[in-house]
């Protein structure tokens, strides 16, 4: 049973460029969440997708956008990259079951360096 997978593993961009990160959820999961983890800090919630719609959003600017596909995989897009966007980007998947506490399972992350 494949877990959460992310691509690419590493990425180097320059300021002002745009980047797309990809995530495939764990088998059987239908919800994808994205988190940003700056060096030495805990992950910060970016947004969450379910049924191809953004359901919740954290305190991130509109430069951060996403998409979920019918097969539940997801993309995170960041436009107009800033140096401060350098971080580990983590994808987490879960199965949305009403009335219960979802458990989120994380992928290995994509490390983005903005120069």
């Amino acid at each position: 049973d494949a877990g959460v997978t992310q691509s690419p593993t590493h990425l180097i961009k320059t300021r002002g460029q745009q980047v797309t990160l990809r995530c495939s959820p764990k088998s059987g999961h239908d919800t994808v969440s994205w988190y940003q983890q700056a060096l030495g800090q805990g992950p910060q919630f970016i947004f969450q997708y379910y049924e191809e719609e953004e359901r919740q959003r954290g305190n991130f600017p509109d430069r951060f956008s996403g998409h979920q596909f019918p097969n539940y995989s997801s993309e995170l897009n960041v436009n107009a990259l800033l140096l401060g966007d350098s971080a580990l980007y983590l994808c987490a998947s879960s199965w949305r079951e009403t009335g219960t506490q979802e458990t989120q399972y994380f992928g290995p992350g994509t490390r983005l360096l903005v120069l």
Partner: protein, 114 residues
């Protein structure tokens, strides 16, 4: 808003001795709490979760945590540390009644010496 506070940024133990990683939470209602571990250059792995069932929660690799409402604490313990336990540990609270997001603490780095 819910939050968690990890009281120690670093904890050092010797192999074979007990581990205690401290976490306090702030919540307006009964929270769901988690501990995740992150090994260097790896993603996050779920150690255990509390969801208002038993207050003593057993996780993987010999870890357990006790939910104490009166103290608003959810400390992580292990009777005997192993070298492979050296990692970053995050206490996490789930926020939201519909679509839930995770709110992470700042992390505790566990160092294990031989």
């Amino acid at each position: 808003a819910q939050s968690v506070t990890q009281l120690d940024s670093h904890v050092s133990v010797s192999e074979g001795t007990p581990v205690l990683l401290r976490c306090n939470y702030s919540s307006s209602y009964s929270p769901s709490l988690f501990w995740y571990v992150q090994h260097p250059n790896k993603g996050l792995q779920l150690l255990l979760k509390y969801t208002s069932a038993a207050t003593l929660v057993k996780g993987i690799n010999g870890f357990e945590a006790e939910f104490k409402k009166s103290e608003t604490s959810f400390h992580l313990t292990k009777p005997s540390a192993h070298m492979s336990d050296a990692a970053e540990y995050f206490c996490v609270v789930s926020e939201g009644t519909g679509f839930q997001k995770l709110v992470f603490g700042t992390g505790t780095r566990l160092l294990v010496s031989p």
